[in-house]
Amino acid sequence: MCVCVCVCVQSGPASLPAEDISTNSNGPKQDSLFDDDPEDLFAEATEEVSLDSPERDVLLSDGPSPAITPITPPCSLITPHIDMFTHCSFDEIEEEEGGDSFDMHISVSDPEKVGDGMNAYMAYKVSTKTSMSLFRSQDFSVKRRFSDFLGLHSKLASKYLHIGYIVPPAPEKSIVGMTKVKVGKEDQSSNEFVEKRRSALERYLMRTVKHPTLLKDPDVLQFLESSELPRAVSTQALSSAGILRMVNKAAEAVNKMTIKMNESDAWFEEKQQHFDNLDLQLRKLHASVESLVCHRRELSVNTALFAKSAAMLGNSEDHTALSRALSQLAEVEEKIDQLHQDQANADFYCFSELLGDYVRLITAVKGVFDHRMKTWQKWQDGQILLQKKREAEAKLQFNNKPEKLQQAKDEMRELEGKVQQGERDFELISKTIRKEVSRFEKERVKDFKTIIIKYLESLVQTQQKQKVKNIIIIIFSISY
């Protein structure tokens, strides 16, 4: 590369215009961040729709099937009932039904090593605090191990994924991390691993119970409440990541088949595209944030090392004023930068974890979309088969074979039933996915807003610390 540069060498960097990042930018603006709080949507809901209401049957069987009518954003749906259905938060619908508002807090704590050697495992205390009538008591806790969580997920996945529910994925298995813990290596990295896992398990449970359908599942209730839980054996081979991988492979197989789904519903096409894009961007972002966390840790370590080295240099310098200057500078750098960097890094770490969660969640979402395609496929196959049978029946009628004709008629009736079921299944999964996606998006917005606000708040704190550092620097430069 040829670069011709005419250079004026200055003794320092060119003076740059001071950027206007006023401290005020985090003050008043923060209020506006809260204006669009999703909680407000609750207040705005004017119509109450309960799951068991007669309107629900109307939703399911009335009107033209969504597969035929092109639909764009939910607000232009056919009946106003459907409109409310998708706009209302699911939590509110559950409110009407059970008379309970969602009030539940789960914490995963007290990791304890049980056993020795390679058979050792970590037991976690799962504590639930709730006022919901769904539970036997208001405050209870149980001991669970990692494979119990995986077992819970695999049960939920097998029950709900194929009918369109977005089942939150459990944290990934980690052979390296766990082996260190088993072997009894009590160092910083294995402690970090346990803490990371504990936090991930907590987030997993909270996400699962926030889902109104999953919350009522007996497996979930049993997981939270019963003191003894049958060992989940199959999870040793399969983790939830493994299950998702299988789902994805199946989905890929569907895609590779020559039949292309005739997507007449633009909403699904748009959402599929949306999630594909989101997947790409979140993965990229996640990788960058993880890299940042790593580099900032390195920076922290290297700054400390340099500070020590500068202090040493200061000590060997004969000229006492200068040596004092170097030592003091080193000390200032070390103390204040450490605090600042550790805090900022903790925030980035939370962000990184959230991004990791969402990368896995979106994989689950895509899986659910693929299940819909499979359902459609099944329905279509049924229709094709029915058509063939009809043709065969017509032929039989023409050739006048009464016994075979009756058999054919019976088969056809059975098939017709199956096709109708297939159509209902497809409509149901489509409706479920719409609800799920809407709920998912609301949760996503809430989660990301929370973490961004947290980052902005910590930015304000960093500025306070910087002010302290500034004072020290002023004193330093005045004295020399």
Binding site: V5, V7, V9, P13, I21, L285, L305, L322, F448, I452
Partner: protein, 379 residues
């Protein structure tokens, strides 16, 4: 380039002297070499004109430096350390990689990264110019070296000096010379000096040199971590921006806001890293080289002392045997004279070195603190 007043010795505090002012007024970076325009302003009668410029390349600077080192007359001076070779390899590689990966990123990302890398290239370029300039200024400020004929030729002769790089044989010779020197160095370092001043200086320089080396290495690592973090923040800002523009929910304005903040953070972190680089890392690197040059001076003095002592022993032997006494006396006198001359100038050199060093550190540390303040105010 813009004109600037006086020697802007970046890391070294030098006296301004109207009789001879040297600077690098321009520089051109071509494929694998850099061409420096050396500009001289002088009232000395040695030169044909009062103001003139020539174009020089790195090898010619090295030639000049080596001619000082090899000159016995200058054995008693700290020879200003040679500027390091301009090294754009890493930067060039990054630019190339960016060009290859152009297809895999958005136009905004590509433009941003390209700007970053070009800024980095420019920074390295500025640094290498500064280092070459400092070398010339040090020579020009030195009362004896500034009169050196080779130096004048370097400044004035407007043709290529035809200084070919050292060939393999010469490089090998240098290598062996250094090996012998370090072996000698160990030997000589062990002998306690009669002169307190030099004994103290020896101890000090050995320790100081090692600690500067350590501090320099650690500051490099710290700055590299800073740069890595700034790069990550750059990528994060881009991703957030893309997410913000793609998102149809409320989140879009959140993402865009945070992207903006990250972008500002990155700019600041980059500048902090660049300032640290300039004020701290370059300073440490320079004094690493100059403390080595000071050590070399001590070594030469020790060598001269050993020669003197050997000449004394030879004279005693000659007198005892009453053979070649005159020859031995002459030899001894030469060694004595050489040793005393070196000792005298070395003492002054080392005192000046300390003065320069203390002033340079103070200046740079204060400037670094001021820059940190400036950046801190901006957040």
């Amino acid at each position: 380039g813009e004109p600037h007043p006086g020697p802007r010795a970046v890391n070294v505090d030098l006296q301004t002297d109207a009789t001879l002012q040297v600077d690098i007024s321009d520089a051109l970076s071509e494929r694998d070499k850099v061409k420096f325009t050396v500009h001289t302003k002088s009232t000395l009668p040695n030169f044909k004109q009062n103001e003139f410029s020539v174009v020089r390349q790195h090898e010619e600077f090295i030639w000049l430096h080596d001619s000082f080192v090899e000159n016995e007359e200058y054995a008693g001076y700290i020879i200003p350390p040679a500027p390091p070779r301009p090294d754009f390899d890493a930067s060039r590689e990054k630019l190339q990689k960016l060009g290859e990966g152009e297809g895999s990123m958005t136009k905004e990302e590509f433009t941003k990264m390209k700007q970053e890398l070009e800024a980095e290239y420019l920074a390295i370029f500025k640094k290498t110019v500064a280092m070459h300039e400092v070398f010339l200024c040090r020579v020009a400020a030195h009362p004896v070296l500034r009169k050196d004929l080779n130096f004048h030729v370097f400044l004035e002769y407007n043709q290529d000096l035809s200084v070919r790089g050292k060939n393999k044989k010469e490089k090998l010779e240098d290598f062996f010379k250094n090996v012998v020197k370090s072996a000698d160095g160990v030997l000589v370092a062990g002998v306690k000096d009669v002169d307190d001043f030099f004994e103290h200086e020896k101890t000090f320089l050995l320790e100081y040199h090692n600690r500067v080396k350590d501090a320099s290495a650690k500051s490099d690592r710290m700055i590299r971590s800073h740069k890595n973090a700034a790069d990550d923040i750059n990528r994060i800002a881009s991703s957030l921006y893309t997410l913000g523009t793609q998102d149809s929910t409320d989140l879009c304005k959140f993402f865009l806001k945070v992207s903006e903040l990250f972008e500002k953070t990155r700019k600041i972190e980059s500048r902090v890293a660049a300032d640290e680089d300039l004020k701290l890392a370059d300073l440490l690197k320079y004094y690493l080289r100059e403390s080595q040059a000071a050590k070399d001076l001590l070594y030469r003095r020790s060598r001269a002392l050993v020669d003197y002592e050997n000449a004394n022993k030879a004279l005693d032997k000659a007198r005892a045997k009453n053979r070649d006494v005159l020859q031995a006396e002459t030899s001894q006198q030469l060694c004595c004279h050489k040793f005393e001359k070196i000792s005298e100038s070395a003492k002054q050199e080392l005192i000046d070195f300390k003065t320069r060093r203390v002033a340079a550190f103070r200046k740079n540390l204060v400037e670094l603190a001021e820059l940190e303040l400036k950046h801190a105010k901006v957040t």
